[in-house]
């Protein structure tokens, strides 16, 4: 009888198709995003995340169509990210049917954009997506740095300090992706997740590295995330969303099972 932890399947969308790579490369086609969204909705997903990774600006508009067609069928919360750089981008995504947008590179290059977006649309609809890698050496105190451009570009910015700054600017939620873990199936970076979740006042979504259902449990129980995001374990049918939620509930986490 309290707020339930959310399981969020994430669909990486490229040129209107779902893809999933390992460590952000080696993309494999995994189907039609709207059909995937419907299946996840039916399976009890608590929210859906579309990440538009379309590289060329020519195909940028395909995501609006995907979002609108999904919203026609799925009456569930929908977060969309990837290439969100302007207030006009946000407005278009929200009008297409997104409930929240996630801002990634633009938050790093222009933190004031987050403040502007939160002011215009309300902080509850602005998710800042933080991609970071552990940069501390063995035996050193944990330290993570922000990377942009799909993990290729280091920024020298400390991830924890950046997370706090984003919340100050009006982010209503943080999506934390460990780029070392992404696609590796070895589990979330729990230290990263917990360090930030304990430091900020907004909900934190754990992302990057899920290979087993225990990893989802760890994200909430040990990482203090209020939502767990996963991609390949669901896309490739390793586990269903229903299995994941039941498993988490069996491990003492409040879940929506109706």
């Amino acid at each position: 009888m309290t707020l339930k932890a959310r399981v969020i399947p994430c669909l990486d969308v490229k040129d209107g198709r779902v893809v999933k790579g390992v460590s952000f490369v080696n993309l494999v086609d995994a189907g039609d995003p709207v059909e995937s969204a419907k299946a996840y909705d039916a399976a009890g997903a608590d929210e859906l995340c579309f990440l538009d990774i379309t590289a060329s600006s020519d195909n940028r508009d395909t995501i609006f169509d995907v979002v609108a067609r999904t919203a026609d069928h799925c009456f569930m919360p929908l977060t969309v990210g990837g290439g969100v750089r302007t207030v006009a981008d946000i407005r278009k995504l929200l009008l297409a049917g997104a409930d929240k947008v996630s801002i990634n590179s633009a938050a790093v290059s222009n933190p004031d954009f987050v403040a502007e977006a939160a002011d215009k649309f309300g902080n509850q609809c602005i998710v800042v997506s933080i991609d970071s890698k552990k940069v501390s050496a063995e035996g050193e105190e944990d330290r993570w740095e922000i990377f942009t451009h799909g993990g290729r570009k280091p920024t020298g910015i400390d991830a924890v300090a950046f997370a706090e700054k984003m919340v100050e600017r009006g982010a209503g939620e943080l999506l934390l992706t460990s780029m070392d873990r992404d696609g590796q199936k070895g589990g979330y970076d729990i230290a990263l997740t917990r360090t930030i979740a304990d430091r900020v006042s907004v909900p934190v979504i754990a992302s990057g590295g899920v290979g087993t259902l225990d990893h989802l449990v760890e994200g909430v129980r040990d990482g203090h995330a209020t939502a767990v995001l996963a991609a390949s374990i669901f896309h490739f049918g390793t586990y269903t969303v229903g299995e994941a939620k039941r498993y988490m509930a069996e491990h003492g986490i409040a879940m929506r099972l109706d």
């Binding site: 919360p77 409930d99 209503g172 907004v202």
Partner: protein
Amino acid sequence: MTKAAEITLVDYGMANMLNVARAFRHCGAEIRVVESAAEAGPAERLVVPGVGAFEKSIRAVREKGFDEFIRRHVETGRPFLGVCVGMQMLFEASEEFGEHQGLGILPGRVARVPSVDTAGEPQPVPHIGWSALVPAQAERSWEGTLLADHQPGASSVYFVHSFAARPADEGDMLADCLYGGHRICAAVQRDNICATQFHPERSGEIGLSVIRRFLSL
């Protein structure tokens, strides 16, 4: 239903309007969107959605003359539904980023969701996610209300907000959810005036059942 129910959707520039329209359409309603009170004739069923900041919303509502339009509609006794900020605006005032006057149709105020739970531990705000509804008071039955198809404490609905109404009149309170041990006002209903803090348009089949119930009022 022999004739499709028509709803009038107040468009004052908020972003989730289309999703509310989609959900109502899915439930068989015909949608009429009005962008200013001047062009809007009388409504059979009026729906005011809303996301974002209270002050911006109430200002936009007033600029388009919707404050009087909503008040007049409510007085006719015909069904009204406010969602999220559309609910909060019904009350007298909000403390979101300063003090702002609401429509004052229902007594009470809008206050921040507690950032500390009842045990004194910090909890995240915004309050985002799914939570089960419980009766606001033991004696209030949900029979004949917006939540008639809902089992108390059973199915969950979707919330995304940082502020919530605190109705002054207990009789208006229909349902709460619990967050960190605190009661958060999740729905109110006074006669024809219905409002939900949660998003029925985003709450799957449970949410659609609330919309269908509104259409049958």
